[in-house]
């Protein structure tokens, strides 16, 4: 049972990590343009930062 002492915090930490990642995706607007995202992969020279060439 002593294994619980580090298994529980480890499990919670990993879960929080997942939650944190999800919150980041929402906050950074990754669900704002669901339609455009699937098309953008076809743009050869597309860069996330949109710096003009």
């Amino acid at each position: 049972m002593t294994a619980l002492i580090y298994l529980i915090p480890a499990a919670l930490f990993l879960a929080l990590l997942g939650l944190g990642a999800f919150i980041w995706t929402v906050k950074s607007g990754q669900y704002d343009d669901m339609e455009g995202a699937k098309w953008r992969i076809f743009i050869d020279d597309y860069r996330d930062d949109n710096i003009p060439d």
Binding site: A11, A15, V26, D33, M34, E35, P52
Partner: protein
Amino acid sequence: MSINDTNDARGCPTMGGPVAAKGAAADPSAFVRTEDDGLEHLDLLVRGARCAGCISKIEKGINAITGVQTCQFNLSTGKLFVNWSPGSADPGVIARTVADLGYQVSPYDPGEAEIERDKHGRFLLLCMAVSGFAAMNIMLFSVSVWAGFSGEMQDNTRTLFHWLSALIAMPAAAFAGQPFFRSAFASLHKGKANMDVPISLAVLLALGVSLYETIIGGSETYFDAAVMLLFFLLIGRWLDHRLRGQTRLAAQELLSLQSATANRQQSDGTVRAVQARDIVPGDTIILWPGDRTPVDGQILEGTSDVDMALVSGESAPELVQKGKTIRAGMVNLTDKLVMMASASTEDSLLAELTRLVEAGETARGRFVKLADRAAQAYVPIVHTLALLSFIGWLIAGAGAHHAILTAAAVLIITCPCALGLAAPAVQIVAVGRLFKRGVLVKSGDALERLAEIDTVLLDKTGTLTLGKPHLVNAKGISADVLELAAKLARSSRHPLSRAIADLAGPGAIATKTKETPGYGVEGKIDGVSVRLGRAEWAGAKACTKDGADNTSGLWLVVKGRDPVHFIFEDTLRVDAAKMVAGLVSRGLGVEMLSGDREKPARAAAFEAGIDKVSFGMTPQEKISRVETLVRDGKKVLMIGDGLNDAPSLAAANVSMSLASAADASQAAADMVLQGETLSPVLAAIDISRAARRRILQNFGFAAVYNVIAVPLAVFGFVTPMIAAIAMSSSSIVVTLNALRPFLHKEKS
């Protein structure tokens, strides 16, 4: 395949479609705003973009403008966001660049309401994530506790697990429960009880009781049930929020048509772009081809063809000249016009239409959704039951602790997870099915309203018919003659010219083209002068051979050759008659409302198989017809496309528009048909009826579940484990039922 090949064609490189005229962009300077970051921001609404090529073209084009810092195009909403450091870029150039790429562009002012809506959607998503995370992790502890129930787990380990659950559940519920707590509080404040009241009560009571149990080292806690309840309900809320779409935006869209900016001639003779709402009666306004009239007024100078679709719904342009009165919202097609404003924007026709649309939408807002009707019956029953079991157990001699625990169990187990999911789960599936069939549904309750209709009203031009003139004698015209005509037609915005240009496809334009409004286009091709236009103007009067009506249509006259007659007609959509027959076979009354003259209206109705026809109707008459029917208790579906249909679309119980329709009509309608055919209307009616049956079935499931679970809870047999199993299984049953195919019941 590379979409980045230098694509010189204007507009969408993969799908084609209507292309905006070069340079046809209002000056958006008035919409530029300076934000906290010190940069100037501009939002533009771009239409006609549909693929990666479009994103790439637009973003590259804008980024190439000197001074622009960021440029982000959102394909889902059509919004283009641009910013630059103050003074380093010209907003007019940005708008013109987009127009020159072939996309319609208009400045866009995101309303407060819409920003709020987006924020709320994100907040619901966050709440859902937090409650999902908490539910999963608490469940890990709960399952361990239940598994160790037979004595393998010692009491202090169990208490530790309860404390850990509480540690996760308390903050998670405090965050994720906000949408419910706030709404319940607001509702109680008004002296009413909505669905969120029992939900909030159940969650708070369950958490409170569980915390007390944890502190005294008891065995039964409901942390898992309370958080899972929030999670399931939030799924339903979020789906519902996504479905609600943009129904409220119709009136705003119509307002934005009010030609956001206008070119006003100042007293010193210079022309300045001003916001349309700053125009006062007496101002002189310059209208270039492609401009929309911002206010009602009178023509001072110039002769031009004007698109009057807003009043009549008919696309055939009218010739206007000095002295003619012109209403707001008309599009100038051929030549420069100078007009004097006779009204301000608030007193113009467009503003009146906007008010009619708003009124219609308010009336429609009174529709009560199935889920809300269920909730109205549900809330008092649940509260009474919980209260009765509390009092009952007290009377029976149980302690207050036990009585509260039972009352909490009743509230949790009756809580409307299944009810909250029943409607949105079915609707989101139905909306997805319809999308595949080319029907875009903008709100979930539109499906509920569509399932109830008994009368269908149809517009003629652009709805039953294609709405555009089509060349009917194309077979008798050789390809090089067509190309010759197209070289002239490409330079013109007149609908008949557009019909020829569309048929011939992109290509060269004749030199020295000149358009005479109301008559035709002339130009030089290989040094020979060519005219395309009315018979007498083009010089074809003496040459009629076919004996046909030579006054209509266009004549192409080339020196030394026989004149060629181009005949046009607005034809019915291929499946119009089939659709009308399908509506009748479903027991629906069908009626046609047209702004057109009697003869063409009757002819189209006869061909489509419609008996009841009204013609020559103004937008106000259309709306009053819709209102009369609604007042008589009819449930009306209106299908229309013109700007003049927008108010009646908003007034009908449910409405459909077409992809080719005016923006305001598409915005006012609940559903938009994406293709050129009308038979998806039948699919939409069938699917909406099937969805309604499915929702009622789901309510049935929820009721059966409650009938079994409530007695158990009231008599105190429900343990936390039973509550958790019952709650999740009922939600899963409802969701699976929603996912079952609708299709075997459809008639096509």
